[in-house]
């Protein structure tokens, strides 16, 4: 492993485990630093903490927040709460897939520019349907508006 990466991981260790924080916090920090959880980070921490890697994977696969594959530069999160659902979230999702030429089972575009995800509810139901792009919230979305918004991120 590169020295630089090891330094980052050691930094995370000092910030979390050394203060009594648990695996979930460790993984949240790893993901914040690298965008996703890599196998080598898990192995490094497993050796460092003497906790089996399987335990890390148990937690990673349980919580929807953690990702084992790299994600795109822009994260598009479509809210699929009840209100967004009845107000047409699925039409927005199919528009995004169309525009980005994303296959049904693929979350990330080939050029690594976009990753499409969904969230159970962002709690902004009064402006449904809601789409969040890189933490910016867009309310009262429709397929047309979505296409326009996507374009601004393509440049």
């Amino acid at each position: 492993m590169e020295n630089q990466k090891e330094e980052v991981l050691e930094g995370i260790y000092q910030k979390t485990v050394a203060h009594g924080d648990n695996i979930i916090t460790v993984l949240q920090e790893i993901q914040n630093a690298f965008g996703y959880v890599q196998e080598e980070s898990v192995n490094w921490f497993s050796t460092r903490t003497n906790i089996p890697a399987s335990k890390f994977y148990g937690v990673i696969t349980f919580y929807s927040q953690f990702h084992l594959t790299p994600r795109g530069k822009n994260i598009i999160t479509v809210c699929s709460g009840t209100v967004c659902h009845v107000k047409g979230a699925s039409r927005i999702i199919s528009r995004i897939r169309d525009d980005l030429k994303l296959a049904e089972d693929k979350p990330t575009t080939k050029d690594m520019l976009f990753t499409l995800e969904n969230v159970n509810c962002v709690g902004a139901c009064s402006i449904a349907p809601v789409v969040v792009v890189n933490e910016k919230v867009f309310g009262k979305m429709n397929p047309e508006k979505m296409s326009k918004t996507l374009k601004t991120y393509k440049e």
């Binding site: 648990n22 695996i23 979930i24 916090t25 993984l27 949240q28 148990g58 937690v59 349980f62 919580y63 929807s64 927040q65 953690f66 699929s80 709460g81 009840t82 209100v83 659902h85 009845v86 039409r91 199919s94 169309d98 969230v119 159970n120 509810c121 962002v122 709690g123 902004a124 139901c125 009064s126 402006i127 449904a128 809601v130 933490e135 919230v137 867009f138 309310g139 429709n142 397929p143 047309e144």
Partner: protein, 593 residues
């Protein structure tokens, strides 16, 4: 205060999405610009970030107060600020046509605000603002003038019940916890608001985080806990940010840390970010998650009040429950018990959403009839469509049809019709919503969120979803309704935790009240509300079609054909019923049947 001018801009998630940050900046710029001619105005102006005011449908909401006279403006955008400053702030004449109308006042006048009283009035990032509305006086009173037992009794007598869903009496839960011999006890604030369609807790934490902190201090004192945790969703970054600020400020003032309020009681709070698992709203799963494990529920008893976090007695209260405590301690149990209905005391914060005119965050006295919520506060159904049902309690709740419109909204009332209070989400559905599709939506959710520990929940929800899916795709079979009912009862009766026990509720209640919709899907292969695309046929009305070609462009399978400026046609043999043509048509020429 002579000549003081205060401008309040709504900066909740809804407000920010509607452009509040730009509005805020526009005010700052305009004040700076106006200050050149009229420095006194600029000096007297204050800009506050205020939390959610509830009426998110009308964002960005702006209050301009001149000499204590408040005018509320709705739908404000940055380009409108210039005129507001020029005419109202400088000129002294409110801009009448932008002011909030009667519906804004009807919306607020029919509510009883205890929890939301200070939301939208105080700056959530300022402890001084909270102190001006009697902040931390209840915690001070409890810690300096009352014994722990007296605090517990006060809460018991108030009749407060848990606002997270179960409705368990809060005071009783506390006394069970306090009765345990232990060297350590914990208080956990459950802010893992995972129900789709609910944002009460987010709004309270974003709008008045100190109230939650104060509630936790009171709880900790009552049960003798020195450590507290707030378990909050990572999907609520603004709420987490403001909570962090609140905790730091409380520590600075000596409201958290050692020797609180100069006494001998120590208490501090740590934030734990949830990692996206709905089941972690369940108490034992939440505890497992704080301990760093997979968030899987375990059998009860032992209850967390006896054996919780790291095996120590633990009290888990929901955000709204905690925020109720300061007013109870300050105003007394009797005052609280005078609000609400016979068995459900106090008020309830509700996220009123869906196909309703006035969506937003509201607070009602327990027991208010459903029709008052929907037609008075909510202003009726959006677009003058017909009311069909209201879904309460999120994925654990049920759908309540028109016939129960007079139902009192409290724990018992909702339960009597097969739904539940849940955390307080209320989604209004109109005639264009398909109830089979709604049931399928919730089952998709619970099936995904089932932790997998119990077979009935893990596999049962999957099978329920499969049956619902085939019904919505026109492959429903005779006997499917009975199969759904039987399976739903089995899942409900044999699951370990609340998730599994309540997951079938949406299926059970929609079959009970909307059986005819299921039958139409299965027997006639029709979706009466025209939602389930696979059961629809799309065609183009030649008299409406202008031949713009948008539908042909949108069709991914080239099922639409036609010359430009001539009516188009859809070839049903090719059509995959995706509905794209319907979405793009601006002339209502594409129809589905």
């Amino acid at each position: 205060m002579n000549g003081e001018i205060i401008v309040n801009v709504c900066m909740g998630t809804g407000g920010i999405a509607a452009g509040a940050e730009m509005v805020m900046k526009a005010f700052q710029d305009e004040f700076a610009a106006a200050g050149l001619e009229n420095a006194t105005v600029q000096n007297r102006c204050k800009l506050h970030k205020v939390g959610c005011r509830g009426f998110c449908a009308k964002d960005v909401l702006v209050d301009i107060s001149v000499d204590g006279e408040v005018s509320t403006y709705q739908y404000i955008q940055e380009d409108m600020v210039k005129r507001l400053v020029r005419e109202h702030v400088v000129g002294g004449k409110p801009v009448k046509e932008w002011m909030a109308g009667d519906d804004y006042h009807i919306f607020h006048d029919n509510q009883t605000k205890v929890i939301l009283h200070d939301l939208g009035k105080i700056n959530p990032e300022s402890i001084d603002d909270y102190l001006t509305v009697d902040g931390y006086t209840a915690a001070r009173k409890a810690l300096t003038a009352m014994t722990a037992e007296e605090v517990i009794n006060e809460v018991k007598n108030s009749g407060l019940r848990g606002r997270g869903g179960g409705g368990f009496p809060t005071g009783l839960k506390w006394s069970l916890c306090a009765a345990n011999e232990a060297d350590q006890r914990y208080v956990i604030c459950n802010a893992d608001e995972g129900d789709p369609g609910a944002f009460m807790d987010r709004s309270v934490v974003e709008g008045n985080p100190h109230a939650v902190v104060e509630g936790m201090i009171i709880t900790a004192y009552a049960i003798g806990a020195t450590r507290g945790y707030v378990y909050i969703r990572a999907e609520y970054p603004l709420a987490v940010h403001r909570l962090r600020i609140a905790l730091d400020q409380a520590r600075e003032r000596g409201f958290l840390g050692e020797k609180l309020f100069g006494g001998s009681f120590d208490f501090d709070i740590k934030i734990k970010l949830g990692a996206g698992a709905f089941v972690c709203g369940e108490e034992t799963a939440l505890i497992a998650s704080i301990e760093g494990e997979r968030g899987m529920p375990r059998a009860k008893p032992p209850f967390p009040a006896n054996k919780g976090l790291w095996g120590k007695p633990t009290i888990i209260n929901n955000v709204e429950t905690l925020a109720n405590l300061p007013p109870i301690i300050n105003k007394g149990a009797e005052w609280f018990a005078s609000l609400g209905s016979e068995k459900s005391k106090g008020t309830k914060v509700i996220a009123l959403t869906g196909k309703i005119r006035n969506t937003g965050l509201i607070e009602i006295p327990m027991g208010m009839p459903l029709k008052d919520i929907i037609f008075k506060i909510g202003g009726g159904i959006e677009g003058d469509k017909l009311f069909k049902a209201v879904q309460t309690g999120g994925p654990s709740g049920g759908c309540i049809p028109q016939q129960f419109i007079d139902l009192p909204v409290d724990y018992e009332g909702l339960k009597s019709v097969g739904s539940m209070m849940g955390s307080g989400g209320m989604v209004v559905l109109d005639e264009t919503d398909c109830m089979v599709n709604i049931a399928k939506f919730f089952l998709t959710f619970t099936q995904e969120e089932s932790c997998g520990k119990c077979v009935p929940c893990r596999i049962g929800t999957k099978r329920l979803l499969e049956i619902l899916t085939r019904i919505t795709e026109g492959k429903g079979k005779k006997g499917d309704i009975e199969l759904l009912q039987e399976l739903a009862e089995d899942v409900r009766d044999s699951s370990l935790c609340g998730l599994g026990m309540s997951a079938p509720n949406p299926v059970i209640s929609t079959i009970k009240y909307f059986r005819h919709e299921y039958e139409a899907h299965i027997n006639r292969k029709k979706c009466p509300s025209k939602v389930c695309n696979k059961l629809l046929t799309f065609f183009i009305r030649p008299d409406q079609c202008v031949g713009c070609g948008m539908c042909a462009k949108a069709c991914s399978v080239k099922a639409v054909s036609g010359e430009l400026k001539q009516p188009h046609q859809i070839d049903n043999a090719l059509c995959i019923k995706c509905g794209s043509c319907y979405d793009v048509c601006k002339f209502n020429a594409v129809v589905k049947d």
